[in-house]
Amino acid sequence: MTHQPRILGKLITPSPKVDWEAIYHAELPRLYNFFRYRVGDDRLAEDLTSETFEKAWKNRQRYRHDLAAFSTWLFTIARNVAIDYFRKPPGDIPLDEETDVVAPETLDILVQQHSDYEKLSNLLAGLNDRDRELVALKYGAGLTNRAIASLSGLSESNVGTILYRITRQLRSAWEADHG
């Protein structure tokens, strides 16, 4: 009899409450940077990030017992959102971009950063789709090779080999450009 209340108590204990807001703040920068590296445009990266979160948010309760799976699922959606974006005719891609007003003392730094980012974007634009996606997942989202392997369907060692080749190729182009 003494066990019964304990068992009942266990059965009716609610599952721990998930802090979705904290998860949102943790995943948002990774997702946003994935898109920045993938499309090379901050404003567009925001739009695609929003679209991904809106799709994922509706069904997030499904993953409350496995938050790691939620992250993987989020990037699965992100990859599809990116694929859909690149399938659209060029006319549908927004070209306008707002220019933020910045303090004069930081302008030089920002100009340099922007210039470097543009150079990198141009280099990334020269990669094929798969290679650019791998770079975005690795260096934009900061995912491990193992996580990338499970998302892309490649083996972990294959991911490592491909990324090594791409990095070497990009580095040599980058250094040539910076002379």
Partner: protein
Amino acid sequence: MDDDFLSGFRQPPTAEFAQGLLARLVDEEKARKKTRDSTWKRVGFAFAALCLALTVLLLVSPAARTAAQQVINDILGKITLPGITVFVSSDRPSPSEFPPELESYEVIWTPLSPDEISSGSSDLARLPAWLPPAYALQGRAALFYQSYPTRPIPPDMAVFQWKSRAGDIIQLMVDKTSCSYEQSLSDCASHTYVAMGINDEPQVITVNGHSGIIFSGMTFVFNLSDPVKQWNPARERLVPQGLTMMWRDDVILFWITTNSPEISRDDLMRLAESIP
């Protein structure tokens, strides 16, 4: 390999974007929840209303009860009515499948005229007001005493017979034998079992508000010239053509059977409903 030049361009999303997106996600979630709750509420109300309507319909309409019973019966292969269970299978069950209590037994009756039954035991003289044309009530009927409490006992079953010029017959059994005297149906273990094949086309019917069953074939014939009969109502299927109908009111089992191919189910229903 040094890959800082690749990872060095990460930057956090602007606070405005991060907060705006979160606010939108939360708002959309609230809107979805509201829609979902209201949808479930509507579905719940609709379901409750449907259940209520169905319950009311079943309570007030014997025909609806009959139809519902028919659906259940089609699923279960067994028709259970108050005081009557009908086993329906693609083949008629063999006698060995019947419960032992359904073994044949001797029935002894007292030959009397319908008038004598009416005057002596009015509750058994439940004669129909309507009969198919050209059928005449026979002068000899039967009265049964099957319960044996302290005497004197009242009779508890009667059989009446009508005959046409062509020799076809209709027999009506009015039976309260299953319950002891002064017991109502709910106080005793009264139950009648009937087995039939699906080819007998069993059909659940309602007679004056009471559920019953009608099926093809004549199930019993009392030879009213002989006051003894070996009888097992579940096994008997004397004539494949014809019809049998049975139903119970609160205390009495009515059992009508005919060997006439001329009498339709509607005729039998009309006859049954004319019984007071």
